[in-house]
């Protein structure tokens, strides 16, 4: 019991004194996962909308693949991104293995299918005739797609939450492609794993609390927007 209480005390001390190492780890976590989520939004909303609005042979298979992709195990993503970025791998020339860039790449691979899948479902969930109604209002194709995405904005916010929530708490891929290098590619999850294995529970608890506060804050903000948007 003492272990936990001491751990929590130390954790709050580290947080409120803005411990430089903890702060650096936190900021890098936000940067890597934030960028990965942002890139995933661009990819996911485009691909999801395109698949939702088009009919082509093999579409069913593509939809199944996207849905499967929503549950990709991060360690498997980590494994394949590592292989691709390995010195003599297909993308080895980029020389980004064990860098934050590689972590952003891996996290994008995890988050993009989640955003794509939710976008696809959200757009398909709109009334079938809405697309025709928008065209009948004189919209160009681009305006039509924009209005549909705007109409699906609430589920798309859920996509942002799910994507960000998925990558900020992910550890397998980050540790494999980032290497958990101190002061360079160490993020909240990889640091928590390491400190726990070393028996430094106080720091591990501090990192865990920060991680939870972060995810809570981000989701609280998005929920706030979502609830304000919802018709009263």
């Amino acid at each position: 019991m003492d272990l936990i209480i001491e751990g929590i005390k130390k954790a709050f001390f580290l947080i409120f004194t803005l411990d430089r190492e903890v702060l650096g780890i936190t900021l890098l976590s936000l940067k890597v996962s934030g960028l990965a989520t942002l890139i995933s939004l661009f990819i996911g909303i485009s691909v999801g909308t395109a698949v939702a609005l088009s009919r082509f042979p093999g579409r069913q298979l593509v939809v199944s693949l996207i849905n499967t992709g929503m549950g990709l195990p991060p360690v498997v993503v980590g494994l394949f991104v590592t292989i691709f970025l390995w010195r003599n791998g297909p993308l080895g020339f980029l020389e980004i293995l064990y860098t934050p860039t590689a972590m952003i790449l891996a996290q994008t691979v995890i988050a993009a299918p989640i955003v794509t899948g939710i976008t696809l479902a959200a757009i398909q969930h709109l009334p079938a005739n809405l697309r025709l109604q928008i065209l009948a209002l004189g919209a160009t194709r681009v305006q039509m797609v924009w209005l549909l995405v705007k109409e699906a904005r609430l589920p798309l916010l859920a996509a942002v939450m799910a994507g960000f929530g998925g990558v900020i708490s992910e550890v397998g891929a980050s540790i494999m492609v980032g290497g958990n290098i101190k002061g360079y590619s160490r993020v909240l999850t990889t640091a928590t794993v390491m400190e726990t294995s070393r028996g430094n529970f106080d720091i591990a608890i501090a990192l865990g609390i920060i991680l939870m506060i972060l995810t809570f804050l981000v989701n609280a903000i998005l929920t706030q927007i979502q609830q304000r948007e919802r018709p009263r």
Binding site: L130, L132, L135, L137, G138, T140, P231, R232
Partner: protein, 369 residues
Amino acid sequence: MNPESHPQIILQAEDLHVRRGGVPVLAIPALSVVQGQILVLIGPNGAGKSTLLLALAGLLKPSRGNIIFRGKEIDAGGSGYRRRIAMAFQEPLLFDATVFDNVAAGLKIRGMGRAEIGRTVSAYLERFGIGHLAQRSARKLSGGEAQRTSLARAFVTKPEIIFLDEPFSSLDAPTREELIGDLERILRETHTTAIVATHDQAEALRLADRVAVMNEGKIAQIGPVAEVMNRPADGFVASFVGVETVLPGRVIRTSDGVFIAAVEGGEIEAVGRVRPGAAVLCCIRPEHVTISTNSPLSGSSVRNVFPGAIRKITPLGLFHRVRLDCGFDLVAYVTRQSLENLALHEGKNVTASFKATAVHVIPRGTLQV
């Protein structure tokens, strides 16, 4: 300008075919829509009404055929033609935004300035009686209010043709009545050409200048309302339009809830509160018309008594459909027994009668039949 004397064709379809999954769902050899008129497509579900509307609106690419708008073939890919028309569906299909923003959508799409949008939208909100709802969320509207918003959104862009696909079907009866009246008034005020799909005969009678009866992807008959109702081209049209006698007329005298309407070739007494001079459609169901071979009796409770000649007798299972010429066309049903007892045959002179209460009166804003 009288549109009847110089009918100007605004929209034409030629050899229009639509297939879905290899199955033909629409086959229209030719169709013309006259500027300023209301064409009502009537037919059962699956007759191809919606498909025809979508194809004519440039929202569905036909597998074959041309659609010609003001003399030029439409470009289905671009937004040029679509910006000159508008369409409203059975579902209101409103955006998750305020009523104002919904009605403004078409204008925003066209890049209209803020101030002008404000003025134009306000005017149309008033016109459709939803001015007080401007800032309300579209998700909080009743069915009637939502459909009014949808119609205002369609009209606000001042379309040259408006396409309406079963716009009243999901509304309850009183709401529907009120909205049809308003729509009719606005269509006449703005002289907008309209193509309306419905499966409801009453709506068709109320709105149509011309009616096209559709069945199995084809137009079974097209023409002025009275013509289609009185002279159905085939059994399907007859059964679908209910074989009513429909007589366009004008009220010439009223007294005490009873009025006399002048129709082509005669005067009809009917029950209803209308003002003198009003245009009406007098509908008489064939089962309410009695045929006798006696000469007209005076003093009977039946006031509408007309001598006439039998033009055509069509067997319809249990009944025979008898078309009479009484100066106007009148359709009656008689049983086989009566047919034999009265020795009815084509060309025979008889007396037809129906009660004033048997006349179903439909008021019409303006009459162009």
